[in-house]
Symmetry: C2
Subunit: 167 residues, 2 copies
DNA sequence: CAAATTACAGATAACATACTCTGAAAAATG
DNA sequence: CATTTTTCAGAGTATGTTATCTGTAATTTG
């Protein structure tokens, strides 16, 4: 698979958060439940994102994690970078170290354009856009057994008692 | 990584064989040495290719493996299919089971075109083309410590005592 | 037929990834 | 200040991939 499982979880969680009407602290427990991901494992994954400065966390009741920047300024590549590293965008089909035009493999020409296209795509896809799409009908975010955001979302909207968003 | 290590080895070996002037039995030992791959491991990998009908093998002295079809009728996708399976071409960025337009994830539109492009590319790249390119100057096939085909190739050209190519 | 050379088969070990569990530390709430 | 809720930190487990090793079957050569 192109992305590691950890990375997929991180991306799904990020899109889930971006799909919410407002940027507020969400408990990892809720995300894990909603996306059908192991809670403890997701915790570890998301720590990468907070350490990378993409998210901020807040402990205690009503705490959780929130996006550190507006959804329009976080893209797919940012998240992949933080979890899997940027190797995917630079390494080659054959995984040879020290690739380059000076010493190319037989597939270099084709692959390098492919790779660049992928990098472009992941840079273009912002959380804003992905979050919007996730809110559309018949769009699913994960292999969830439960349909996307039932009462949870409404609760989040009406619930005004939130921890301060600025660290 | 997109391809497993096994798959990379298989592709490298196939290109190496395609780069030879004639389609003749080559000892796996030679390929492993030339491409800097563990012999026993490469053996296992190449068994996938013979079982898939892409290569034929012959035991005993002067035996080895050879391409089962002309280089022009074997492409990258064939080899990837035989070793890693065709999942890469059909599975998605998020690895969700049962993907489709009816129940898409937020990245479907972008990713499905990306994926199709990749599949196309791997279908277009025949061993004939890849072998040709491998023979060009400054092109390398693997992370080899030894420069590509020194005396080995000349020996293969001049050596006329070969096992019968038809099984 | 004996010896050498090769692919084939299967067991085992080393390593990485994916996942689980336990116990802390921080913050709110009453 | 005790209790609850949350993230944080790290050990431990399970599973799969990668690599190694040992032996066997097929084939040629002399
Ligand atoms: S030459 Fe290009 S395609 Fe080949 S391994 Fe290097 S970067 Fe990748
Ligand atoms: S909807 Fe498309 S991109 Fe998303 S998981 Fe399915 S096939 Fe992949």
């Amino acid at each position: 698979m192109l992305l590691s499982k950890s990375c997929v979880y991180g991306v799904q969680a990020a899109i889930y958060m971006a799909s919410l009407p407002r940027n507020e602290y969400v408990a990892i427990q809720e995300i894990a439940r909603e996306l059908n991901i192991s809670f403890h494992f997701l915790t570890k994954v998301l720590q990468n994102l907070t350490q990378a400065g993409l998210m901020v966390s807040y402990r205690g009741p009503n705490g959780g994690i929130a996006l550190a920047r507006p959804t329009s300024s976080i893209n797919l590549a940012d998240i992949i970078d933080a979890i899997d590293g940027s190797d995917i965008f630079h390494e080659c089909l054959f995984g040879l170290p020290g690739c380059g035009i000076a010493d190319p493999c037989p597939a270099h020409e084709n692959w390098s354009t492919m790779r660049a296209r992928l990098h472009n795509l992941c840079h273009m896809l912002t959380l804003e856009e992905l979050g919007k799409r996730a809110n559309q009908l018949n769009v699913r975010l994960a292999n969830a057994s439960v349909p996307m955001k039932p009462a949870t979302l409404i609760a989040a909207i009406t619930n005004s008692s939130q921890a301060p968003i600025e660290k």
